[in-house]
């Protein structure tokens, strides 16, 4: 029996339908960019209105660094400091002078948001260049965009999204150079890699990795002459390409070393100085908390956990399968495959950093009872998104199944608010609930003349959360103010915020040894810091104005 059919005429004539389809086809990237912008803005608003945008202690510190460049007792680019690379803070400078942009975190978040949109667009383009069809490209973008950890971090003043953008752009251009040998792509790749080297040290690893890939490509590709004709001629070509690449790509590294030399008199101050990660790691190691150092399996395990928790296991597995398909796909040029290995650079860097003890990562339930730096796992998200997009494209008959399951899992990720980066910010070691100290300051020091002496290295979150202007604070970066206040505090500091009996707090370390310290009384004790106030009889001798003028 023939099945009864009921025919419905679509309200759109075929010609118009085709025009619409054509419009979408030609402008899909623009439409994706618009969509990503809307998603970015909505996400920012959501996390901001839930007071999560500034939950990370580091986010507040980044914002303070940017603010100190434009406002404070000693404003200037020297406030960019050391250890943390400068580009995220430099990008905040045009907007952070505004109090709202500073205290809302928008000054830093806007950089992350733009990076988020651009990274999403790059994922689309990357997949397009791998000859992935429209469904695969859209799924790839979806996997990146619909990741709650990515959406959270792009709403904050953290540096992850900016790093993801520059690294993905660098790898994308490198892949294009491998694909068509046009030198312009190599220059663009060098530019983005250079930017990434000024954001995080992951970029430095990418620089080395990309350099190695360039040499490999030149030696294996007949475009640069046959190896049989002469090793030396190939070597010359490789030398030239590397020189051209490094001149631009390594420029950021060069500038950073120079900066450290000029400001701190030591080109490696960022690596070995008192506030460096190295110093932090030494302390952790002495406390037995650097378990991954020297242990490759543990390093792989910890980073794998971070990766899986950031992306969820199902998407991670799909990404691994997609990666496998990419590398066995005969339709993709070998050079492109080689270039695509750079997508694994974040994975390799993080494992190496853990192994060498230059990085620390706590996974709750695996390495203790808290989270710390688990957000490092998000570094692989663009790569995973690209791999998943390719997988969905290549396995045609399972496409609907995979898309359905990705949507299913993503839906429940959102309903359960499974965002390990938020957990790290709210309850992990990356958070500091300094609201008690900062509220006290905001209430008691706001309308009273006098400076607050505080270590920015230890208590940047307090400075941020107090809501007070940066010029209220005397900290390590204020030059002569700091020198004077830490030797004669009673002439400079009406209040001192410090962690008592902790020599890691540079304020305590210096001030507690001065005779003036006896002229202070403890007014409040809180978990993160104690508040000392100058006794009333010594207030008349206090400097309350920035009398030391412009300092070099």
């Amino acid at each position: 029996m023939k099945s009864l059919e009921f025919a419905v005429n679509l309200p759109v004539p075929n010609k118009l339908f085709l025009k619409i389809a054509d419009f979408f086809r030609k402008n899909i990237l623009f439409l994706i960019t618009v969509f990503l912008t809307i998603v970015s803005a909505v996400s920012f608003w959501f996390f901001y209105s839930n007071s999560l945008g500034l939950a990370y202690n580091d986010a507040r510190s980044h914002l303070d660094i940017g603010r100190r460049v434009v406002e404070g007792l000693k404003p200037g680019f020297a406030q960019l400091g050391s250890v943390w690379l400068p580009l995220p803070h430099i990008l905040m400078v045009p907007t952070i002078w505004n109090d709202f942009m500073w205290h809302s975190g928008l000054s830093g978040a806007i950089v992350s948001m733009i990076s988020f949109v651009l990274t999403g667009a790059l994922i689309y383009k990357f997949l397009e260049k791998l000859a992935v069809g429209i469904w695969g490209r859209l799924v790839g973008v979806f996997v990146f965009v619909a990741n709650i950890n990515v959406l959270y971090l792009q709403s904050t003043a953290m540096t992850e999204l900016l790093l993801l953008f520059t690294m993905t752009a660098g790898v994308y251009e490198l892949m294009l150079w491998h694909k068509n040998d046009k030198v312009l792509h190599l220059i663009k790749s060098a530019f983005y890699v250079m930017l990434s080297t000024l954001i995080r040290y992951d970029g430095w690893f990418l620089f080395l990795f990309a350099g190695a890939l360039i040499v490999l490509q030149i030696f294996r590709s007949d475009y640069y002459g046959s190896l049989k004709r002469g090793f030396l001629s190939k070597l010359k070509v490789a030398e030239g390409a590397i020189f051209m690449f490094c001149t631009l790509a390594a420029f950021g590294i060069f500038l950073w070393l120079l900066w450290n030399l000029l400001i701190f008199k030591d080109p490696l101050y960022f690596a070995f100085g008192p506030y460096s990660a190295h110093s932090q790691q030494l302390q952790l190691e002495s406390a037995g908390n650097l378990t991954t150092k020297g242990n490759l399996m543990l390093s792989v395990e910890h980073y794998s956990y971070a990766l899986i928790y950031n992306s969820n296991l199902f998407v991670s597995i799909l990404g691994a399968l997609g990666m496998y398909l990419l590398f066995i796909d005969k339709k993709i040029k070998t050079g492109v495959k080689i270039a695509s290995t750079a997508l694994l650079a974040p994975l390799l860097f993080n494992i190496l950093a853990l192994f060498l003890g230059h990085s620390v990562l706590f996974i709750q339930g695996v390495s203790g009872n808290t989270w710390f730096n688990v957000r490092y796992g998000v570094s692989m998200m663009p790569s995973i998104a690209i791999f998943v997009g390719l997988l969905v494209d290549r396995i045609v008959n399972l496409r609907a199944v995979l898309i359905g399951l990705v949507i299913f899992v993503t839906f429940f990720q959102f309903t359960s608010i499974d965002a390990v980066t938020i957990d790290d910010a709210r309850v992990g070691s990356s958070q500091k609930n300094v609201s008690e100290v900062s509220s006290w300051l905001g209430k008691n020091a706001k309308d009273v003349d006098g400076f607050v002496l505080i270590s920015a290295a230890s208590h940047d979150a307090i400075i941020f959360s107090s809501g007070l202007p940066m010029s209220k604070f005397i900290h390590e970066g204020t030059g002569k103010y700091w020198e004077s206040a830490t030797t004669n505090p009673e002439h400079w500091a009406r209040w001192i915020i410090m962690r008592s009996y902790d020599d890691n707090d540079s304020t305590w370390k210096t001030v507690s040894k001065t005779p003036d310290f006896a002229h202070y009384e403890v007014v409040e004790k809180y978990p993160f810091a104690d508040i000392y106030k100058l006794k009333d009889e010594f207030v008349p001798g206090l400097n309350t104005k920035p009398v030391l003028g412009k300092q070099k």
Binding site: A7, L10, N14, L313, V409, F412, T415, S416, I417, D418
Partner: protein, 511 residues
Amino acid sequence: MKKIFFVLLITILLLTSLTFFVKGGKTDPFYFQTHRDTVVGGPFESSNSLSRFALTESMILDNDFAFNEERRKQATPDLVYYKGKFFTIFTPGVSFITAPFYSWGLQYGMPQLSSYLSMGLFGILNVFLIVLLARKLGASFYAAILGGLIYFFATNALTYSLTYTQHTLSVTFIVLALLNAVGKRNIINNFLLGALFGAGLLVDIPNGVMMFPIGLYVLYKHFNLVKIEEALKLKLKLSLVGLLLGIIPLLLVFGSYNKVLTDSYTVIGQLIGRVDYLGDGQIKEVAVSSPTDVKPLVNAPYATRPLLSGAYTLLISDERSWIYYSPIVFLGILGLFVAYKNSDTKGFTALVSAVILIDIVSYTMFGDPWGGWSYGPRYLIPAAALFCAGVGVAVQKFKANPLFLLIFLSILIYSISINVLGALTTNAIPPKVEAQNLAVPIPYTYQYNLQLVDQNNSFSIFYNFLANRYLSLREYWYLLTTFITVIALLPFLLLLRQTKFTLPKFNFKRP
């Protein structure tokens, strides 16, 4: 004719095998007909079974869905208290479907045996449904039978076909739905599919999730976009209405059941939460195990944070995974891969894979992947069933490869032995964290079952009233494993009869 005879033979052998496991009292085979003893290894050891059985009894004996004093105690902690009524937390499908068996058995003083036997019969039905499924995936007749037997004997389907839980019926409806989905989309087939969907939901809500891909696939087959001159026409087959005609009556049944108990068509026991019954109307609420400790946006049973630990528990760990309880299932991946490569079966294989994946993914995201005190990954029984169909395909493809045969036979015997062990002793193995915190700790793996074997502790009627005169329980276990392995290998040997053996190589290309 030969095939029909073989099917009959297999059916007889299956029924015979079942009798070796049927449970009764150790001194009185009909003990459990009148006693709701929750002794370890007995038919009521798990509240999953007892709570559903309490509903069946309540329906037949008390003409009520709500529980009296006696049944409240039986059903706890799978008990709900709402607006003055006590009832089972589970959906009523198992009780509704097996109620006729209970009634029939009641006439002969064997209501428990007859009810539980119905699960065994559905288990045997599932064997043949999987045979049909394997045929659709490209397996030959004997390879398909092998796949069906592997499902029944080499996975925890065997142990759970001796219980009064949802797993056996879930497999029935899911496999029937899959077989229906590849048929023509006429009103009758759609009606049947709708009814299967509704019945699946009645048996267990997650069946709706697992059958969702089937529903989507069938829906898709009803639409057709056709270009006619300058216009586009969307053609929709009216037979689609058959789906509604099939599902609505059963949803009404479900709704009516809820209405009687909760005064609402949509409020179900699982949304209300469990209570412990303390007697005389006193209750204690049982804490809800949430998949995550963050307050969710909506109360959903799934979350992604437990995905990693759930996957580990269900697929790798010694607590519940297939690796330890039925590794034979993994050969199904090979078979599905072969079926996928075949253009004739590619689409259907994708659909089967979708159901498998959604079963695995959803339960790895579940707050309790262990399934409480259970034997093997009980929530993955539907996926195991579908994989076993794939095992048939794999054996069909690689039967001439000695290396494959060696692996296949080794893990088949192991899988059969483990599941026979469970069927003879107990299904109630606690999760590791609970086992280790008991007043007297017990193993959290089938080591516990081995302890029971060494204690000669089984409720198998056949063993207690016949075999134990001649054999220890361990010997009985070995003997049954051997017997069942022989049954499983019957179709396998017939398959091998015409095989030419080659050197080991894996060739995935079509001949």
